[in-house]
């Protein structure tokens, strides 16, 4: 699936184009100092080369910081996977109109050749240029702690580095033309947006991963012994925990009053037998000893066919005024349904639980507007929610009425939070827990 994706963030583009300017300027002034040509005048060339070098160094410091803070440094971890395919593509495939052997995604922007080349620049060529540049500038200070005995070696290495950089620029500029059209890649580096191939499975996994991470619904995972393996931020918040380390590895009994532990034991035992618990109300004991109410879902986790533990979501209901009613309804409710809308209100993703609640097939809902899933009277309510969420707010326990495929309606409790792509809100997502089916049972 092709999709316009925000692939180069603002600082990244600023960094890239500043670097372009500086490298060109450093090459011009540098090779003038090398007496390769006359352009600015030797004195200006020297002074400007030094100033540009300082500017470059500043940029490098910011870029290093950015790479680590954003985690983008991982994009440069070298790999030989598809390396030969990539080389073959440039040598043969490209002339036959073959497809690129690797696909650009936000999570994997560079092909293996790029990874190697860029890493080489970052770890070898540019550091060497910076170090030799510094020696070049300061070797003759009288209070110089290192005595170089001349700059011949320094200057020659610096020159060699410059030749490498120029060769890189030539190849780099040429290879930007190998995108879909000649200017696709340059346009992407200017605007940040590029149409890239999206692997639906990968996308789905990434969505869920980030949904769990950012959701207002609490997520937990236990191992076979009932000890916590993982919880998300929302879970920690509900339990008034500040540090994840305080809970990981602890037995679930710490999260309950003594008299409630038995109830949870029962649920855990059921799940370990392979059962899925769709939603049960529970009373949690927070870190500070205070109590809170939530609805809980639980399902077993498997690895290679073996049951390895259980996981699930919790949605806070402490502040619901109609608490008791909903708690009642929620007993033995459905598994949590997951949905994701883009900021215009079109469904991008839903999970199976969601589909079974609404009665849709996946193809019938993905790409459709949310109005399809609401009665006319309720539509404005969801409009408001979307407006709130896309302005950055999260909603944790709204009760909503859904319109199913067959026209029937149902009630569910809903969480919603904004979806960020880089620094932009691009949609909203959340979980729903059914309240209706239980009512009928009773």
């Amino acid at each position: 699936m092709k999709k316009s994706t925000y692939i180069y963030r603002r600082f990244e583009r600023f960094w890239h184009w500043s670097q372009v300017l500086l490298i060109f300027f450093l090459a011009l002034t540098g090779f003038e100092v090398h007496s390769s040509f006359k352009l600015f005048g030797f004195e200006n060339a020297v002074n400007w080369h030094n100033i540009a070098a300082w500017a470059f160094l500043t940029l490098i410091v910011f870029a290093i910081f950015w790479h680590f803070v954003s985690g983008e440094w991982k994009q440069y971890i070298p790999t030989t996977k598809y390396m030969m395919a990539q080389i073959n593509y440039y040598i043969f495939g490209i002339f036959k109109g073959a497809q690129h052997p690797t696909h650009k995604t936000i999570y994997n922007k560079f092909n293996p050749l790029q990874r190697f080349t860029y890493l080489g620049l970052k770890l070898l060529v540019i550091p060497v240029q910076v170090v030799t540049g510094f020696l070049y500038m300061y070797y003759m200070y009288p209070e110089n702690p290192i005595h170089l005995g001349g700059i011949e070696i320094t200057a020659l290495i610096h020159t060699l580095g410059a030749f490498f950089l120029i060769a890189f620029v030539i190849f780099h500029m040429y290879l930007t033309t190998t995108g879909e059209t000649v200017f696709t890649s340059i346009k992407a580096m200017l605007t940040g947006w590029e149409v890239v191939d999206v692997d639906e499975e990968e996308e789905h996994t990434e969505h869920l991963k980030s949904a769990v991470k950012h959701s207002i619904a609490g997520y937990y995972r236990l191992d076979k012994n009932g000890n916590f393996l993982d919880v998300n931020e929302a879970w920690l918040k509900m339990y008034k925990c500040t540090d994840r380390e305080q809970i990981i590895g602890k037995h679930y009994s710490v999260a309950r009053k003594k008299e409630d532990v038995k109830e949870l034991d029962g649920i855990v035992a059921q799940v370990f037998e392979g059962k899925i618990i769709k939603a049960v109300p529970a009373t949690r004991k927070c870190k500070d000893g205070s109590l809170g109410r939530h609805i809980l879902s639980a399902n077993p986790t498997y690895a290679g066919g073996d049951l390895t533990g259980m996981e699930g979501f919790i949605i806070d209901i402490t502040d619901l005024d109609t608490e008791s009613e909903h708690l009642h309804y929620a007993v033995k409710n459905s598994q949590a349904g997951y949905y994701r809308l883009n900021c215009k209100g079109y469904y991008q993703d839903v999970n199976d639980a969601w589909l079974s609640l609404y009665g849709f097939d996946r193809d019938e809902i993905i790409g459709k507007h949310y109005s399809l899933s609401r009665t006319k009277e309720d539509l404005h309510k969801l409009d408001e929610i979307i407006a709130k969420v896309t302005s950055g707010k999260s909603i944790s326990n709204m009760i909503a009425t859904r319109k199913c495929k067959d026209g029937s309606t149902g009630k569910h409790i809903l969480s919603a939070n904004p979806v960020y792509e880089k620094d932009l809100i691009v949609g909203m997502e959340g979980f729903i827990l059914d309240l209706d089916s239980v009512k009928e049972e009773i």
Binding site: R13, W17, H34, S35, N44, G97, M140, E152, I166, I170
Partner: protein
């Protein structure tokens, strides 16, 4: 915060990006163009210097002892030291009097090095030629090696302190002025009015110093190249310090003295890095606004950039070939040849000369110490020019700086058997003086005997080189050397070896590889691109 999706917003973004990319270039180009034209007001930071504008503290004409009728110059000296009664003692420790300085040789022995044992490639050596040479000694009567250096009365005070400009030593009279009117080289020399001269003494003026230092080698600007009579009354163009339209500084403004020991020395005869006059004593070691230029001062002498040419007035002698001397015209007179400018290119007594004006200096590493060819030294290698004085230093020696210098090349008489340079007896009225009888063999016998050295009886001529650091005729900062004068492939320092200089040096192999790399990159890209283009069709 919704993604800007409409084409107008997109266009604005791209436009802004291009503006961000182009703007620095435009600013840079503007700035660079502006920098060239910018004229900053000249402010020179000076330390330790104050122009002396006060009148002399005493009026010598009022002293009774100076109002007597002096018969001899020694009587004047006697009058001087009757008041300045320790000055004679001070004078006798100076190189102006001794014509030598102590030097510790490699054995640890202190020897006196000076004109009596160092030779040059002009008139070669003082031994046996004293009366001519010592016309520039601050004494009276040094006509042979028996001169009494302990006799205070032999000090010539007035050659340095005369303010009338009338007192002159006769060129061939061992430091004495004439007793009656005499001519030399077409100039009249009159007996001095000692009374008037003695009453008009003061700090040495340019003329006093110049009387000897302009005329070394027997004529104006012959030896130094950067010291000549134009400096007595000159403009800023010739010397930024001495120009009377500028700072109007005299010699003694920089060459300060301590009890008559005058600061400064020249390495044609000096050997040691001590008591030197320097630009830094007034200008500090970091006189420039630009740090990089100040850093240059670590390894480059001020003179290198600030004296781009020397011999700005009269030409200076660059080459002296003694081997052609001795020619006479048919009428028996000595042959003299001059070029169209009236500059002497040949003289039967001396040989052939080459002169030059507005000369670009040659450059060397120099740490302030000099090695000299001393009389009697064996010449080790006759295939290269004999080094009369060797300016010591190199890039690797951190005390060394690049200095400008005049190189005087000579071809002079040499004993191939003893492998020594010969000091010929040139001047005199006796039967062996070369300038009388033109017999090199006889002149060599006498000269070497007076010098106390063996002579084999065989002579030939050998190439020699002598190095004269250039320190005067400092130019304005606008006229000083620019980066490119040295930092270019064929700049002034093209021949100065032993170090890497940006703009001048490069590694041939590395540059070839680099250029090839770029060419291959372009070729590869063009090939790949055209293959893509045609394969798609």
């Amino acid at each position: 915060m919704e993604r800007v999706n409409n084409s107008k917003g997109k266009f604005a973004r791209v436009l802004m990006l291009f503006a961000v990319i182009l703007l620095p270039w435009l600013v840079a180009i503007f700035w660079v163009n502006k920098i060239g034209e910018e004229e900053k007001p000249v402010t020179v930071n000076i330390i330790n210097y104050k122009a002396d504008s006060l009148p002399p503290p005493v009026d010598h004409s009022k002293y009774e002892v100076l109002q007597q009728n002096f018969e001899t110059p020694q009587q004047v000296t006697e009058a001087c030291i009757s008041c300045h009664n320790k000055t004679g003692h001070d004078i006798m420790h100076t190189s102006h009097w001794k014509w030598s300085r102590p030097y510790v040789n490699e054995n640890g022995d202190t020897v006196e090095l000076g004109k009596k044992n160092i030779i040059n490639n002009f008139c070669i050596g003082t031994n046996s030629n004293e009366p001519r040479c010592t016309s520039c000694h601050i004494g009276y009567g040094w006509k042979n090696k028996d001169f009494n250096f302990k006799a205070e009365l032999n000090i010539d005070c007035i050659i340095c302190h005369d303010q009338t400009g009338t007192y002159k030593k006769f060129p061939t009279a061992a430091g004495y002025p004439v007793k009656e009117e005499k001519a030399f080289g077409g100039k009249k020399f009159l007996p001095p009015d000692y009374n008037r001269v003695a009453q008009n003494v003061g700090m040495p003026k340019r003329e006093n110093c110049g009387a000897c230092h302009y005329f070394g080698g027997g004529g104006n600007n012959v030896k130094h190249g950067d010291l000549e009579k134009i400096l007595t009354k000159t403009t800023k163009e010739v010397d930024i310090h001495m120009g009377i339209d500028g700072e109007d500084m005299s010699c003694t403004a920089c060459h300060a003295s301590d009890r008559h020991d005058i600061q400064g020395q020249l390495y044609s005869v000096s050997s040691y890095n001590q008591n030197r006059t320097s630009c830094e004593q007034c200008h500090t070691e970091t006189p420039h606004e630009n740090t990089i230029i100040n850093q240059h001062a670590n390894r480059v002498a001020c003179q290198t950039c600030h004296i781009p040419t020397y011999a700005k007035g009269a030409p200076t002698k660059m080459d002296w070939d003694w081997s052609t001397a001795g020619r006479h015209n048919e009428d028996g007179s000595i042959t003299v040849e001059k070029d169209s400018n009236g500059v002497m290119t040949y003289h039967g007594k001396k040989g052939s000369f080459k002169w030059a004006k507005n000369v670009t200096p040659e450059y060397a590493w120099f740490n302030g110490n000099t090695d000299h060819y001393l009389i009697g030294d064996k010449v080790e290698d006759t295939t290269v020019a004999v080094q009369i004085n060797t300016l010591l230093g190199s890039f690797d020696d951190l005390e060394s700086k690049i200095i400008p210098m005049k190189v005087h090349r000579g071809k002079q008489i040499y004993d191939p058997v003893n492998k020594t340079l010969i000091i010929p007896h040139l001047f005199g009225k006796d039967s062996t003086a070369y300038w009388k009888h033109f017999d090199w063999n006889k002149a060599s016998i006498t000269g070497m005997e007076k010098a106390g050295l063996p002579y084999s009886g065989e002579f030939t001529f050998i190439n020699t080189e002598m190095y004269w650091p250039i320190n005067h005729m400092v130019t304005s900062r606008e006229e000083s050397l620019k980066c490119m004068d040295c930092h270019s492939r064929d700049g002034r320092l093209a021949n100065l070896a032993g170090f890497y200089m940006p703009g001048r040096d490069y590694n041939n192999i590395l540059d070839t590889i680099g250029v090839l790399l770029i060419i291959l990159a372009f070729a590869g890209v063009i090939l790949h691109g055209s293959l893509r283009y045609f394969s798609k069709k």
